[in-house]
């Protein structure tokens, strides 16, 4: 039984669920303008958000700040 459990755990470990984090210096592609919320024309998304909060009376909860470099 113990052996089966260990084999199952080994299988889980080998399933490719990597615990490797993306390092700050590996975020070059994430920092590109195209990767920001709304792509190259975020004003379109901003307009959509404006319509949304006007109709739904709620705002926020979309997008993140920062350039992707891991800095403040």
């Amino acid at each position: 039984m113990m052996r089966l459990v260990l084999l199952f755990l080994l299988g889980v470990l080998l399933m490719g669920c990597s615990g490797k984090k993306v390092k700050p210096w590996e975020k070059e592609n994430l920092a590109q303008d195209i990767m920001q919320y709304g792509g190259l024309h975020p004003e379109v998304k901003k307009f959509e958000a404006h319509v949304y909060f006007s109709k739904e009376a709620s705002r926020g909860g979309s997008g993140v700040g920062g350039g992707g470099c891991g800095c403040n």
Binding site: W25, C69, N72
Partner: protein, 147 residues
């Protein structure tokens, strides 16, 4: 046997520790950076795609020009050409090392950019992570305290 394999897998995921305040810089890195043992340096890790680095770079250049401290830049762009263009655009006056192989950044392992390491006698005495307003004033103050 199975137990040993599981332990080995678990421990292999633990990465090496990043350099922190009080740590000694490895000899091979010191040699490659050409660090003088009796001098104080500021090692600035930056990239062309880092917006905060663009903001800080002119102020760090100013500190170097005013000879407050010698700055050594480490550019971590994937392509050396991108780094060179960036350095040229901002007229960086200090020595810049292009770390395309991630040799230096892998050892220092900062949590973000820009990352400033104050090094004295081969030892890290202070670290500043991320963008800081008026960084030139901070560096001048820190250098006075360190010396």
């Amino acid at each position: 046997m199975i137990k040993k394999t599981i332990y080995a897998l678990c421990f292999s995921t633990i990465s090496l520790m990043a350099l922190d305040t009080g740590d000694i810089i490895p000899q091979n890195i010191k040699t490659q950076l050409n660090l003088d043992s009796n001098k104080t340096y500021v090692i600035d890790f930056f990239a062309s795609w880092c917006k905060s680095c663009k903001k800080e770079l002119p102020l760090i250049s100013k500190v170097h020009i005013e000879q407050t401290v010698e700055v050594i830049g480490v550019n971590v762009d994937k392509k050396k050409e991108d780094g060179e263009a960036f350095v040229q655009k901002y007229n960086v006056p200090f020595r810049v090392i292009y770390d395309t192989n991630k040799e230096f950044i892998g050892v220092f392992d900062p949590i973000g950019f820009p990352a400033l390491y104050y090094v004295r006698n081969g030892k890290i005495v202070k670290i500043i992570m991320g963008a800081v307003d008026n960084i030139d004033e901070h560096i001048s103050k820190d250098i006075k305290e360190i010396k």
